[in-house]
């Protein structure tokens, strides 16, 4: 069985949680419905990506950016998503900035330590860099 893009599923537990949080208490979801929603979500990602990529290509860019995704949402008639997406993007950017500043601060602190006369053998090069930073 070839690995089609549609086979790249999103984690079941997360999809289930999103569904449950969207629906009122007391409502259940059959396994088949859950599976179908998960599949639909994967198709959504593929479709949105393709749409967004068209905008990037039109602008002669090789890198798909957030603006392209916003344009795609509009084209796909999901304008209702635009406002919450903009807000989420703001929060995300702030979070990323915070992470960057935190690792900058760490580096500065390390420098301070080594320049002080306190010869700490302990403050070795602990490159416990935030690997989560490169989501790429």
């Amino acid at each position: 069985m070839a690995e089609r893009p549609e086979d790249l599923n999103l984690p079941n537990a997360v999809i289930t949680r999103i569904i449950k949080e969207a629906l009122p208490d007391g409502v259940n979801v059959s396994k088949e419905a859950r599976r179908a929603i998960s599949q639909a979500a994967s198709v959504f990602v593929l479709y949105a990506t393709s749409c967004a990529n068209n905008f990037a290509m039109k602008a002669k860019r090789k890198t798909l950016n957030a603006g392209d995704v916003m344009s795609a949402m509009e084209e796909m008639e999901f304008e209702r998503f635009l406002q919450p997406l903009r807000e989420a993007l703001e929060a995300y950017k702030k979070g990323q900035k915070g992470k960057k500043e935190a690792s900058e601060q760490k580096r500065k602190d390390k420098e301070k330590k080594s320049s002080s006369t306190d010869e700490n053998d302990k403050s070795r090069d602990e490159e416990e860099d935030e690997h989560m930073d490169d989501e790429q």
Partner: protein, 127 residues
């Protein structure tokens, strides 16, 4: 019909869902998400997106025309997908309620897809 109407199965549904779902190289931390995804999820994205960005990115890269995608774009698509799931679940629920049911079934999804314009792209794509 596997679904039952009582409240309890919520947990077992989650568990069964977790078990049935990992034939491929599982990412156990996501599946341990019967509430236990704490440190890893936080490490991933500060809880701003529920769906794992790595998986979203893999899906995006399945498109041969896509060369590069900014981190932000991956995040936004993850977030949009979350909104999409919420939307389709709620829209399908309307049909379940019309049928006086408290359990969302596959046919409710099909009805929603047929009736709602925004879901037209899904027609013919689901197994």
């Amino acid at each position: 019909m596997a679904a039952t109407e009582s409240a309890a199965p919520a947990e077992s549904e989650l568990d069964r869902g977790g078990a049935e779902d990992e034939p491929r190289g599982a990412e156990p931390e996501e599946d341990a998400g019967t509430g236990q995804a704490g440190p890893i999820a936080a490490a991933q994205q500060h809880r701003l997106a529920k769906l794992p960005l790595s998986r979203i990115k893999s899906l995006m890269k399945a498109d041969p025309d896509v060369s590069l995608a900014s981190q932000e774009s991956v995040f936004i698509i993850a977030k949009a997908t979350e909104l999409f799931v919420e939307m389709i679940a709620k829209d399908a629920l309307v049909y379940a309620q019309q049928g006086k049911r408290k359990t969302l079934q596959r046919k409710d999804l099909d009805n929603a897809i047929e009736a709602i314009d925004e879901f037209a792209f899904l027609e013919g794509t689901l197994d």
